[in-house]
Symmetry: C2
Subunit: 593 residues, 2 copies
């Protein structure tokens, strides 16, 4: 019953008009194999696959779930065929290097392709997603031989990948992991320990599963500086690349979750499983962060996909649902009632969702472009600036985009009234599926700590200053007919700049300050980012003719008027600081009242 | 695994210290059968039942759900015994008139008892809840004979009740219902039609089910002025009160929902079922509103219960979960990590939940007291003022309390990290169960329309003016040591007063204005109400000794500093009005992008 049509026109607009992708690609010799027509064709192809294959499997995947039986995990009906088709289409390696069988497509394109699968079946998407992330980590840190052994088969989908970090007692705080890596005489290690919440830890979609595992070698330093990264394949790989003996790594159970039920979330037991060190000992966390940063941007895209799905279904429902009359008189007097789209409150909810979707999508492409610059540009200064941007904006992409998306799909659900609470319409599943995006890959609270601490206070605000300078420069180029957006964006720049300075100073004298205000700061920077995106969107639309472009201008104005002022509330919250929060004794929280 | 201890100390404090319940009860001859000691004893009894009986059934009820088989509905394991015990304890009639077998307890007490069952098993609570609501509607509008026939057996739990309003094409807009009532020669009617989303429409907990059904008689006026209310019993009742023949009313199916799965939500088919008119023809909607208003306050209490449950479990988890170190140095150096309660961001989330719970609970008791005044007071002026208050505050109690509670349990879930997403801890069920409270009994958007339209603009702001005057009067009595709370509450009074005036004026010239800004207005009035409650709480705590009372003062300050300023953001949103929202064509919303 659920519908989905990929927003191809908006995607084209963002790539072509907002970010001038063609020019960017054609001027870069590593990217000039792609032009906008090719990008459009790729996205159209993906949209068909999402709509015709993946969407149909979504509701059943939720109801059937993944199955666990004595260490074996079976994915829901249809996943195996769909995964084969996805792999066959070359989608796993869409953004991977040609050297390893990838298609070398820019990130600003792949984020849009990923959005479609996240929109139509997020549980399915997690299987290839973890493979791609593991591939990136290996590509960055593994030896040439390791790359040759693993990467090509991962990008064909013959093998898949995982990320094994969390343990029962150790989640955010990876410094206290207990999994051990004992060196063997042949240079390999024996890995022993239990990992939990391992997405795609075991399943029936690929012939082999390549686990990337964090573990501690004997005598490793305590804490996060003593963590190493290992490849632990489910089946050991013979020298000729064929599968050898089964490694003693197995799934002990799968979790029963609120959503993404088609995705197998496994407890993985490593019983002296053979592992191979990636990079140097004790440098595993940094290596893993390559993968984590990729996944974090992906979670933001999960948010966009879900919110787009929610929007389309809610807008269709609202159009069809007849209830009440317009306050200005019946709009459809021949019918028993008007469409609920006549009610301003219903429109308000839908516009909130839509404004979020368009700004989020533009932001994901923007961050994708920054990643492309870091990877493909030869201009050292541009690369440095892009690296700073990526560092600053990754927690925003992960946390702000998923927070906004979750709020959006709640609004979308409300458009359905009671019908939104029953399974039939797919919107309640969408909520259950999306909620995890705010939690996994580092909770959104942890993202906010990363933003305010490592990415802002630690460099004395340099990254955010560079970002604000760019936004200001751009805003100053806006024409007079975009004055509202220009003024509000510049005002937001000033507010965020001032509060950043305040945070840097206050953190010096109030120990718990940055921790207490981090989430508010993340949302303030997120709102500024959306304002920047709408300024870019409006600038790209303003001289073009037709309703499509005119509506973008009105939506940008809607955002600036109704959303953006929330920055002020965030700043007031920041000013309240940490003192009241820390005033309560620890016992207060659980003392019976 | 989930825990629950009813917050008896807080409940006692609110009744005894904040609202001086003893004095209120003892000074009223219809209520002087109750004193604070009796109230405490009743609440303690209910807390044991909630903790020892009802809580245990909660998770299974979610996993098992209600069963449907050829028109028969079976409730989850244990519900039947628990319902019998609940009925045996006299809980169904706790607030009902003694004349019909009730215990005549004041609403300000019953809201607290209800909270405990909503906290521990909301799906279970809906079975007695609908019975109580149906009883209230009958008590207000039915004939003496009808009351005698139905009410006593409903309060013993032998029979139960429902509310049959919604039809497939007709939810918020009841004016377009199609269910027909054809008069019979004997004065009864034949009711024919289909009702959906009927909570407890069919089940195995009682011997008979008394449906209250809205239907249209032949030649009834169009729209909501042509709706009549009927009693349609599942089994017709013989003159001696025994059960007669089965009426042709039956469940066609039950819904598969996001949550409250143990509650049977039925499609009810009426096939010329025998019905008995309640009150006068065409006055059914007003009669039903007695029940709806009761249910609406109850939904707010559902929110408090869920949020209290979520708080207790999250606080316990946060205490036990060791992860990371305090920024001021290890607090538990002997352990591998500190409790996550050392992190300000975790405390922030828990304090948000707690502040919401304490203000919400006080507000529910406050509204309960207003209802008690309308029912028990002999002072005509007091009754009139209380009636105005109830009219104004019912949509706040329903929508603001459930919005705040939902936000709270999301915060609580986040405290669990990944563990909050798996079933084991009960928090994800809590979210799924609570979400309906924002949707049913009139969506929160519809509540906001009621507040801004019928309750505010229509009377030219009289109700809100009376309410603000009361808050101001109270605030002026506050001592100097509560100056922060006093100043902020008075400032909030001024803000809400001014924006109300603005709304009344603007609504005259901007047709869609009130519809567009209603939700923001509801939240502004809600925040003012919470500020009023915290002013009352602080005033009751300030001269008392001990940590319990001191913590109330700090929490009140936390609210005033971190929550209350959101009023300003709401007002900015109100000022943005409806023009941009209405600027989009209807096609815009579904046009493919």
């Amino acid at each position: 019953m659920a519908i989905y049509n990929a927003p191809l026109a908006d995607m084209h607009f963002i790539l072509n008009d907002v970010f001038k992708a063609d020019q960017f690609w054609q001027n870069n010799e590593k990217l000039n194999h792609i032009d906008i027509a090719t990008a459009d064709a790729i996205l159209e192809e993906m949209s068909k696959f999402a709509k015709n294959v993946i969407l149909d499997l979504n509701r059943n995947a939720d109801e059937e779930g993944a199955h666990f039986n004595q260490g074996t995990v079976t994915t829901p009906k249809g996943f195996k065929e769909a995964f084969a088709q996805y792999a066959e289409g070359g989608w796993i390696g869409l953004g991977a290097d040609e050297e390893w069988g990838g298609q070398n497509m820019p990130k600003m394109l792949t984020v849009l392709a990923d959005e479609m699968i996240f929109a139509t079946n997020p549980a399915f998407m997690l299987y290839p997603l973890l493979t791609v992330g593991a591939g990136m980590a290996l590509n960055n840190c593994a030896s040439q031989q390791q790359k040759e052994t693993y990467l090509p088969k991962m990008y064909t989908g013959e093998w898949s990948g995982t990320m094994c970090l969390t343990e029962p007692h150790s989640g955010t705080d990876l410094g206290i992991i207990k999994t051990k890596a004992e060196p063997n005489a042949d240079g390999s290690y024996h890995i022993t320990g239990t990992k939990i919440f391992i997405t795609s830890g075991e399943h029936d979609l690929s012939q082999n599963i390549i686990h990337l595992v964090l573990a501690k070698t004997p005598n490793a330093p305590a804490g996060s500086r003593g963590i190493s990264l290992f490849i632990v394949p489910k089946f050991l790989v013979n020298e000729d690349g064929s599968l050898g003996e089964r490694n003693p790594v197995s799934a002990g159970s799968i979790e029963h979750k609120m959503g993404i039920k088609g995705s197998a979330t496994c407890v993985m037991n490593f019983d002296a499983a053979k592992g191979f060190l990636v990079g140097k000992e004790n440098e595993g966390l940094a290596a893993m962060f390559v993968m984590m940063n990729y996944e974090r941007l992906s979670m933001g895209i999960q948010g966009i996909g879900a919110s787009e799905f929610a929007y389309q279904n809610a807008a269709q429902y609202a159009t069809d649902r007849l209830q009440g009359r317009s306050v200005t008189g019946a709009q459809s007097p021949e019918k028993p009632a008007d469409s609920i789209l006549v009610h301003a409150d219903v429109r308000r909810m839908l516009l909130n969702v839509r404004a979020n979707n368009e700004a989020s999508r533009a932001f994901a492409v923007y961050v994708g472009q920054q990643l492309d610059i870091t990877k493909f540009s030869t201009d050292a200064e541009a690369v440095k600036k892009a690296n700073d941007h990526v560092a600053l904006l990754t927690p925003i992409a992960k946390a702000f985009l998923t927070d906004m998306a979750f709020q959006s799909i709640l609004d979308a659900q409300m458009c359905f009234g009671g019908h939104g609470y029953i399974r039939e319409w797919g919107i309640e599943q969408c909520i259950r599926d999306l909620r995890i995006s705010q939690i996994y890959e580092g909770t959104n609270g942890v993202q906010a700590q990363d933003l305010i601490g490592r990415k802002t206070i630690k460099n004395n605000g340099q990254f955010i200053a560079e970002y604000i300078a760019e936004i200001r420069d751009f805003s100053h180029t806006l024409d007079a007919d975009l004055n509202l957006l220009k003024d509000k964006t510049l005002a937001a720049c000033n507010e965020v700049e001032a509060v950043t300075q305040y945070i840097i100073e206050q953190a010096k004298v109030e120990a718990n300050f940055s921790n207490a205000v981090a989430v508010d700061y993340l949302h303030a920077v997120g709102l500024l980012s959306f304002s920047y995106m709408f300024a870019k969107i409006a600038n790209a639309a303003k001289d073009q003719h037709g309703e499509f472009y005119q509506n973008k201008l009105v939506l940008a104005e809607y955002f600036a008027t109704k959303f953006l002022p929330n920055i002020t509330a965030r700043i007031v919250n920041i000013q309240a600081g940490s003192n009241l929060i820390m005033k309560f004794s620890q016992d207060y929280f659980t003392a019976q009242s």
